[in-house]
């Protein structure tokens, strides 16, 4: 089976019913995406599929073929963090950090869809659980990331 993950084509030999989460974690050792509940409730396993925030613990890998899969490993590197990641550092969002890969992926997808989200947009789109309770900082970081993204767009436009 061929998957496109973070811009790379990857071959995996698994049963098509295996959730994408476990293909990433246990077959490809891409452990940034987390297991939290197994029933699409908590959002720890969120990745983007064709740009849409998707919970992968119940998504059969067969359904992710011929689509662009973006995981936490694909949005930035330590020397080149995405705007969302930068904002996350600026606001010191994570505590234990376990839910944050999913939280960040949900935020990336939200900002792709709504570049300047209101608090109501954030309430509607950010449905992940953070047991440490980092929500106030997640909200603040999303607003900061929106600004960072629009500054970057302005800069590109002026070139």
């Amino acid at each position: 089976m061929k998957l496109n993950i973070n811009g790379k084509d990857i071959d995996v030999e698994v049963e098509p019913g295996m959730p994408l989460l476990w293909v990433l974690r246990d077959e490809l050792n891409m452990t940034g995406t987390k297991f939290g509940c197994g029933v699409s409730s908590c959002g720890a396993c969120t990745v983007m599929i064709d740009g849409v925030a998707t919970r992968t613990c119940t998504l059969p890998v067969g359904n992710a073929q011929n689509k662009k899969i973006t995981t936490i490993e694909g949005i930035g590197s330590p020397s080149n963090l995405s705007a969302v990641q930068q904002a996350w550092v600026e606001h010191q969002v994570p505590q234990c950090g376990y839910c944050q890969s999913g939280m960040i992926m949900a935020a990336e997808a939200l900002l792709d869809e709504i570049p300047n989200p209101t608090d109501d947009d954030i309430d509607a789109k950010m449905t992940n659980i953070c047991r440490c309770g980092t929500y106030t900082r997640v909200r603040a970081a999303i607003h900061t990331a929106a600004k960072l993204r629009s500054q970057a767009t302005d800069l590109l436009g002026s070139l």
Partner: protein
């Protein structure tokens, strides 16, 4: 008693640090033969757990390139300890925080958490008390009870200061001058006369051989450059790019993955597997194993293991405990309320006389349910068992409990068990238990030579927790016309947490329920002036496993006491804030916190919103909270805002403290709104987040935090934010509706929040 046996016995006495209990003679026996020079040993400790290189003491190693490695014997579970401990060291060592790399040492004596047991400000560089020696000897290396800073505040600064002076002496020797003629800055020793510099990295090999005649003076607070600042956390970069390694992320060559099922009734036992061959024939499944704890399916992938586990058909002995249900528990707790108390730890005056004389008695009974920890990272543990050694990779609150658990099940001596402590995807007390390490080791022992990662599904995690116990709390109060509390009579019915938790490790050392201070923490010795009071409790005996849950006894007792304080204020016809304030004349730190939080929360504002206030001390810190809500419809509210003031004495990293208050409040709100574990036929009803929900973004309030300025010794911050959240909200709901919330979770009363 053999030496090995006596060690084991002492090891199990973690009740003392958690409940603040007393040292008994049983403990002292095991100290015979303790190395009398353990203190000196710590100063000169080589830092075995830190690997190769020039370790100056047990905490600090400096490489030739001037990189500093700091061994932090505390677990990073989101509370920021991988930053706050290095801050204490870096302040005195005079190195940039960014140059520090944190590692987890093996569970060895210097890293023992002595404060947990003594609740006294330690200085292990000066001398150990007997109780501290015991903790070091065992050693008890543990994270919990909000003690990392109270335990480390002196010790870690001395670790940095002594290392600095040793480096200075090494440089002075090199230059042939007095130590007083050199100074330090940013990882270098400077010759005050010539301005020549030597790097710590160049000096560390010589420095470690130096004996200091006396302990150096610590810096004055006014000279701190790092402590007290919002230093950026060292673990955050890894936690935004997916590279932070949790226990569940461990991947080893040839590793296999296991899933387990447990007996379906508490205290039951799985006695046989009906379809072993069928499950072993499933895709990717390697073995199906019957262990003492349940059945494990070992496969080449967690999902395949979990599928195998779901297919299992087993034989069970469930003859006991089937009668346990939430209804029978409630009946038992009610009976206990009417019986003679087991203990009465706080009395003043003559409550009975006042209650019988006065017919204006306010009487209320409050109720809370069992709660699961539900850390985001489902419990898991990776173990490799070899013939005479073992390795374990796990996010655990205690490296020493982990080591002992692996040693006991694998049959390998403790010194041959290597512990790799990863980041914890949440702890909250759940990861201080040994059960998941014992189970994973039992599986790995049957798969000798192969690293096996055992992961518990969310359902198995939630149904096999060590729960915060259910409790009832009955109050009888009499308030004078002038607003004085004339009588305060409080009786609590609850299962003893410390008794249950320690019994799991060694029944002979479990504290008796009557001695369990956790039961009444936050209910006894309230700061308010009360003329006559009695705080008593009775013990509910149950096979249900209960355990330490973020803020322990305070998690329910703050809801009970601060709600009833509101009832008293209402009965007196007084403002709940003014009513409390008038009773804090003898406790100025409480008074200052209450005044501050009232100001921060706009108490008394006429803005169409409703407010509730609560004040509570736990783990050495006083926290006041004001909750502001808006009525959106019949029984529909938004929780707009929490104001929080904390007096935790001297503080290390204010940003971390703010984060802990924010998180602690949300943790308390999740329990207040939704949290309940219920029982039916000896089993837990709830299984996953859809029926054990959490506060999410849409319900989470905005939160502002104020940290009080003073010079008191540090208190804890990991837990104290949680207890006032429920009563602050419940009191706000009373202000809005006139309905008193006396039972959690609030959703059961039909309230909705958005």
């Amino acid at each position: 008693m053999s030496k090995e046996k006596s060690k084991k016995k002492i090891f199990t006495r973690r009740n003392f640090m958690i409940t603040g209990g007393v040292l008994t003679t049983g403990l002292v026996v095991g100290v015979a033969g303790l190395n009398a020079h353990v203190n000196k040993k710590i100063r000169k400790y080589s830092g075995k757990g830190m690997g190769e290189g020039s370790s100056i003491n047990a905490w600090i190693r400096i490489a030739p390139d001037n990189k500093v490695t700091v061994a932090v014997g505390r677990a990073e579970m989101g509370q920021g300890v991988y930053t706050s401990i290095p801050m204490l060291i870096a302040e005195e060592l005079e190195v940039p925080l960014e140059n520090i790399e944190v590692i987890q040492p093996q569970p060895e004596s210097p890293y023992a958490n002595t404060f947990m047991m003594t609740q006294k400000e330690p200085n292990i560089f000066k001398a150990y008390e007997l109780a501290e020696k015991v903790m070091a000897y065992l050693p008890m290396v543990m994270t919990g009870g909000s003690t990392s800073i109270p335990d480390g505040f002196n010790n870690m600064r001395y670790a940095g200061a002594t290392a600095r002076e040793m480096l200075k002496q090494a440089a002075a020797d090199e230059w042939g001058i007095e130590r007083s003629k050199v100074s330090t800055e940013n990882g270098y020793v400077i010759n005050n006369d010539t301005k020549a510099k030597l790097s710590y990295g160049d000096l560390s090999a010589a420095a470690r051989e130096i004996d200091l005649a006396e302990l150096p003076e610590l810096k004055n607070k006014s000279d701190w450059k790092l402590i007290g600042t919002k230093a950026k956390r060292l673990d955050i970069p890894e936690k935004v790019d997916g590279t932070a390694e949790f226990g569940i992320d461990i991947r080893k060559e040839g590793m296999l993955y296991a899933a387990m099922i447990h007996p379906s009734v508490i205290g039951g036992k799985i006695t046989g597997i009906k379809n072993k061959e069928e499950v072993e024939g499933m895709e990717g499944v390697k073995r199906v194993l019957l262990t003492d704890y349940g059945v494990a399916v070992v496969a080449n992938n967690t999902w395949r293991a979990k599928n195998g586990a779901l297919m299992l058909e087993v034989e069970e002995d469930n003859s006991n405990n089937q009668e346990i249900s939430s209804a029978t528990i409630q009946t038992s707790l009610e009976e206990i309320l009417d019986q003679e108390p087991l203990a009465t730890p706080d009395t003043e005056g003559d409550v009975d006389a006042i209650l019988s004389d006065n017919n204006q008695v306010i009487e209320s009974t409050y109720k809370v349910p069992y709660l699961a920890h539900a850390a985001m990272e489902p419990l898991n543990c990776t173990v490799l068992v070899n013939d005479d050694s073992a390795e374990v990779w796990v996010g655990h609150q205690s490296s020493s409990i982990t080591q002992t658990a692996v040693s006991e099940v694998a049959g390998v001596s403790k010194k041959n068990v290597t512990v790799h402590t990863t980041y914890l995807g949440g702890g909250f007390g759940r990861r201080a238990e040994s059960d998941f390490v014992l189970k994973a080791t039992a599986v790995a022992k049957m798969m000798k030579g192969i690293p096996v990662q055992t992961t518990f599904t969310r359902e198995e995690d939630m149904k096999n927790d060590m729960y915060r116990p259910a409790a009832l709390s009955r109050f009888k109060g009499v308030v004078n016309p002038n607003g004085e509390i004339h009588a305060w009579d409080n009786m609590i019915a609850i299962q003893s947490v410390s008794n249950s938790a320690i019994t799991r490790i060694d029944p002979s050392f479990a504290p008796k329920p009557k001695d369990d201070i956790a039961t009444v923490e936050g209910a006894a010795h309230l700061p308010y002036i009360m003329k006559n009071k009695r705080v008593a409790f009775g013990d509910y005996k149950s096979p249900i496993q209960v355990g330490f849950w973020r803020s322990v006894g305070s998690s329910q007792n703050a809801f009970f006491t601060e709600s009833f304080m509101d009832e008293c204020a209402h009965a007196a016809g007084q403002d709940p804030y003014q009513f409390r304030l008038a009773k804090l004349g003898k406790t100025p730190r409480f008074k200052a916190v209450l005044e501050k939080v009232a100001e921060l929360g706009n108490w008394g504002a006429q803005d169409g919103k409703y407010r509730g206030i609560a004040l509570h001390k736990s783990f050495g810190s006083i926290v006041g909270e004001v909750c502001t809500i808006t009525k959106k419809g019949d029984k529909e509210f938004s929780i707009d805002d929490f104001a929080c003031a904390i007096d935790c004495g001297t503080y290390v990293n204010p940003d971390t403290i703010e984060a802990q208050m924010e998180g602690g409040i949300v943790f308390g709100l999740s329990a207040a709104l939704y949290g309940q574990i219920t029982w039916q036929n000896g089993s837990v009803v709830q299984s996953n987040f859809p029926d054990y929900d959490m506060v999410r973004m849409n319900v989470s309030p905005s939160i502002k935090v104020h940290i009080m300025e003073n010079d008191h010794y540090p208190g804890g911050v990991g837990e104290p934010g949680t207890p006032p959240a429920a009563p602050a909200l419940a009191n706000a709901l009373f202000a809005a509706t006139g309905q008193r919330i006396r039972e959690l979770p609030i959703m059961n009363a039909g309230y909705k929040f958005s």
